[in-house]
């Protein structure tokens, strides 16, 4: 059992770094900021609202997955080339669907997300007004 564990540890030690090294993104702007601070700010804001396709709970700004590196480089290169953040978002959504973007859109599928809170606030307002509103007989608060 001990030998097995030792062998397993050795195997992990040998394989994991090697794999990680080869997978790392070599895209030019994966780990390099743009020289223009305003452009880098715009790129950063967009990257924080794009989903990493491999580690799906993270944005591409947070993720160290190789594909996230490629996506960061894509965002920075296109910003540097003069594209607007929303054009880049649209380009990615054309390929990966709404899923790639963290910025919600109102669609036939998502409208209840926006409608229900409004409906609940309206309902609460109506109920509260009925309960605590002014007394219609005297015109004074109860």
């Amino acid at each position: 059992m001990k030998r097995l564990l030792a062998a397993l540890a050795l195997l992990l030690a040998c394989t994991v770094p090697a794999l990680a090294q080869q997978e790392e993104s070599t895209a030019p702007y994966a780990y390099r900021q743009l020289d223009n601070p305003a452009q880098e700010d715009a790129a950063q804001a967009l990257m924080e609202s794009l989903r990493c396709l491999q580690c799906q709970g993270q944005s591409i700004a947070d993720s160290d997955a190789p594909i996230a590196g490629s996506m960061r480089s894509l965002v920075r290169e296109r910003i540097a080339a003069g594209e607007t953040p929303e054009q880049i978002r649209a380009w990615l959504m054309e390929r990966y669907g709404d899923y790639v973007s963290y910025a919600p859109r109102v669609t036939t599928l998502t409208w209840p997300l926006f409608a229900f809170p409004l409906a609940f606030v309206l309902l609460a307002w109506l109920l509260l007004r009925k309960r605590f509103g002014s007394n219609p007989a005297t015109g004074e608060p109860q």
Binding site: L19, Q22, E23, E24, S25, T26, A27, P28, A30, L53, Q54, Q56, P66, I67, G69, S70, M71, S73, L74, L92, M93, E94, R95, Y96, G97, Y99, V100, R131
Partner: protein, 187 residues
């Protein structure tokens, strides 16, 4: 002496008392269902049914051709396999790709974030079913294709339109399905 009127009881019908609890239970139900159901991890390309995006990739191996998107629209269907030497499932699907090649299916390859030496080693070990291999070193063509990982296999018809995207390795039992998709693209 006149008595003040007794304070008015709020008029709530009996079933309405249970309404908040029912809504709460419904929320718990929805959350439990979503948490316990295995969520799909795959992000499918939305380019299926659309023309292959234009790209031109340099050769991944010296002395072998690179890959240009134009050659897909030559009237014949192709498989486009996105792979890498560092990708373990790509080794698993190698025998299936070899079978497809033996059946006369043309397979073009894109190797993602790879090096020439690693790729040569991979092909020596696992066989080389590819007509051409384009080197997508910075992963930009992979993104243009709407691919979210390796391996992935696209079935592309003779007009250069993407007809099917297979995410993950092609397993042995999936060969008939891939051949069927290929035959559909041939029509």
């Amino acid at each position: 002496m006149s008595q003040p009127p007794p304070p008015q009881e709020p008029k709530v019908s009996r079933w309405a008392i249970w309404l908040p609890l029912a809504i709460f239970a419904a929320f718990i139900g929805v959350f439990a269902y979503s948490l316990l159901r295995p969520a799909p991890r795959e992000v499918a390309s939305t380019l299926v049914g659309k023309p292959l995006p234009e790209f031109s990739l340099p050769p991944a191996l010296p002395g072998r051709p690179g890959l240009d998107s134009k050659l897909f629209a030559n009237g014949k269907p192709h498989l486009l396999n996105i792979f890498a030497s560092w990708c373990v499932p790509c080794r698993v699907e190698a025998p299936q790709l070899a079978r497809l090649k033996a059946m006369g299916v043309p397979i073009e390859g894109i190797s993602v974030r790879d090096t020439t030496e690693a790729l040569q080693g991979f092909l020596e070990q696992n066989g080389d079913p590819f007509q051409r291999i384009g080197a997508d070193d910075d992963g930009q063509v992979q993104l243009a294709l709407g691919s979210s990982g390796v391996p992935e296999t696209y079935v592309i018809d003779g007009k250069g339109v993407i007809r099917y995207q297979h995410i993950g390795e092609i397993r042995e039992d999936q060969l008939p399905m891939i051949l069927e998709k290929f035959a559909e693209a041939s029509q």
